[in-house]
Amino acid sequence: MRAARAIVRLSAWIVPAESRHEWRREWLAEIAGGCATGWRAWRFAMGAPRHAWSLRWQQWQPATLSADGRFAWLALRRQPGFVAAASGTLALGLGATLAIFSVAYGVLFQPLPYRDPARLVQIWEVNPLFNWTEAEAAPGNAISWREQNAVFTGLAWYLAGSDRHGAQANMTLDGDPPERIKALQVSANFFEVLGVSASQGRTFSAGEDTPGRHLRVVLSDRFWRSHLAARAGVIGGPLRLNGAEWVVIGIMPASFTFDRAETDVWIPAAMDMAMARDVRKPHFLRVVARLKPEVTITRAQDDLTRVARDLERQFPETNRQMAVGVGPLDDWFVGPARRPLWLFFGGVALVLVVACANVANLLVARSAQRVRQLSIQSALGASRLRLARQAVAESFVLAALGTIVGALLATAAVRLFVAHAPALFPRTSEIGVHPAVGLFAALLALLVTAAVGIVPVLQVKNGDLRAALHEGGRGSSSRAGLSRAIVAIEVALAVSLLTGAAMTARSFRALVGVDLGFPIDGLVSAQIALPASRYGGTPARYASFFESLSDSLRQAPGIESAGAASGLPVVGGFWTGDLFIDGKPDVHGRELKHRSVTSGYLETLGLRLIAGRTVRSSDRPDAPLVAVVNQTLARTYFNGEDAVGRRLAFDAPSKNVRWRTIVGVASDEPQELGKGASPMVYDSESQEERASLTLLVRSHLPAAAVIQQLRASVAELDKRLPLADPGPVSQQLHDVLAPQRLAVALSSVFGAIALLLAAVGVYGVVAGAVAMRTREVGVRLACGATARDVMQLVIRQHLRVVWIGLLAGGVASYLASGLAEGLLYGIDGRDGLSLGAAVAVLIVVAIAACMVPAARVLRIDPVKALRAD
């Protein structure tokens, strides 16, 4: 009998608290009343644990859980404002984190779509003499690396473009009308080194990059679909490019991209190895290689350094101090984007944490308001567990809402980003909702639910609810302290982010408003590449084509002036060389920018002529070589002297230096936006014969009409020539500013989110405080204070937190201003106006966020407030 009772008493602890007492009574009564023998009692008692467990289990049945959910929904539905604030905050935090994670995952973590991508490296040249940190390789050097290294299974190259990118050569796809397409020129073993094979046909085989054997083309999947209607049997067929017949040998899989996604076709970088071996200047190749197994990047670096030292000894003229750099290929692609992405990721993670803290704050404030309701439920027999479960259910509903809305926001944001960022960001084609992103979202949702849900559990569990009820819900001060600290941090964060946003926006405005030095309105440009097959003979006829095109355009109605050059200001396009000035040996080897222009180009652009004359059509190959220098060059190297008549060169060192006579000085053109002009030279296109130029026209007619005129004039001269990228120059300037525009948009969004979080935080704390202090307010009112006095008191007390946050945020932005150095244009890193604006906005928002809940004081009836106890 005693053992039986012990079993029952022990099992009673399993039974839910609200029915435990009765349960124990029933079982003990049965044992006392019905058991003749000890054995029988013992056998009877053995059923008690099972019964106890079944009762406990019943509590977690779906029926009760869904009842919890329903109840939570009903409770929340009555407070739409609270729900919007709480789940909206969560949605913002979650959405931002998810969006940045999607981007970061695609760009940073997803391995490159090549075989064993970890073994692929990029190789570049380094030379302290010219401040080269990641320069292109000279063909001779690349060949030496290929032949003398002991660490690579293969070494391939492609033609270099601007920055870290490959050159997307413009080719003419013959047809009616002819069309310009983008080609990447690669060595024959390029695909083999990457370890990618064609989805149809084959890639280049050895020797197909020798001139004469090189008319082979590999198509991108996109080009095959858009231009050949995804026809079967194109392999082995012809493709007319640049007036010659090429053979299609393969089509790459749709998943294959390299460098940039826009490549239409890959063609061999035709190179006579015997000749290229001696070309150790200029530098125009980008090099990729595959490491042998077990070889580290450090070892590869050491090995190539050895080769470079040998080359320096062999070719002191071209390879002086020429060193080599080696790095992972994925780093090469995303390197510059890596740091900002991690920064953003850290930033949004912080935002998410703050959002969770905010919602927890709101929940605390709300439960303080509901003490009475909880006490009634408790008095009616609801167990603490039951109350906690109900509260958790509410948190769960909030978190679920927040997650759904956040996921939608993130999807929209990622779409927007992919649509706008490709030109600026590496690997955008790999951004999307990846399974890993979904997993991350689920994990985040779980974390958020737990973080938000833990609050009510702690409240019900830690503090004895009944004691809290007796107090009339005057909450503990430590919790209030934590809430205030969170709000102060939020305010500080908002100040810093808003200041950053304001500075970015101001810098952008300064950049847009910068004086270009020439009137940009009315300028229209287009690119033309003349095929060597028809224009490249001896003598070449490139320049004469552009001269006659400009002439015929000048005759056209509405066209004021026309010219052509190898590039445009700001939007890119100049060559660089080492400067030599006759009679000034001290400046030898300084970097110089140069550009070939036809007659009429400088006039069309609208640069001022300061001395001498501009380039004329009479500056032909048989005439003396001429150069027009910019003002900065004249000032830097001919300080006070007359530059006109002096001689300079920029294609040395070579045996026969091509000295050019300076015939004029023109005003500076902005070479890169936001940077000062550097020495620059304009040479005569007729004396250079470059095949690919940008046509520039000034007219007061609408751009569309001008483009139509351009097409007509070109067709008059050559029907088979396509016009590439025709459009107003102002539009190109607009595109150049895209990264800055993106920065403004992103920083504004972050600033707005931070501001909203701070507002919700202030609101939550004040609302909680007002609810908890209803009694105190009642006493004050009863003692004769006016509602307005009390309201002012509440606001004043809570604005203290805001002041602290403002101060901390101000100091933080001041200290962090170093980070912005170099990213801003036209304003100081410590921009007082931006900081002031941010602080002003925050003060207004904080006061508003204080006022709304504080106004509840006005509704407190002192009699009711006091009677409530």
Binding site: E22, R25, E26, W27, L28, A29, E30, A32, G33, G34, C35, R43, F44, A45, M46, G47, A48, P49, R50, H51, S54, L55, Q58
Partner: protein, 104 residues
Amino acid sequence: MSRRTGWAAVRVLRAVAQGARYGFDIIDVTGLPSGTVYPALSRHERDGYVTSSWEDLVKAHRDQRPPRRYYRITVQGKRALDDALAELGIEPASVLRPSRARAK
């Protein structure tokens, strides 16, 4: 009985319908162990098939034992029992008659 209920639960309900009023009584009638009978009773009570009340204190005191918890079947419970038995192919009336007879 809308939810799937085991044969044991039906037997427990039938025992209550037939007049067994407390734990040991039901165990004796059905021959089921306490670990089956009590969870079934709790479920029936939750579903509204049986109700329970505490035995009169005076009467229990007279028998020198603590008051027992008595179970009684509800109208809803009777209907559920009929349905369940019909489903099992047992004539409901034959089972219910004795309980009615006892009630008289």
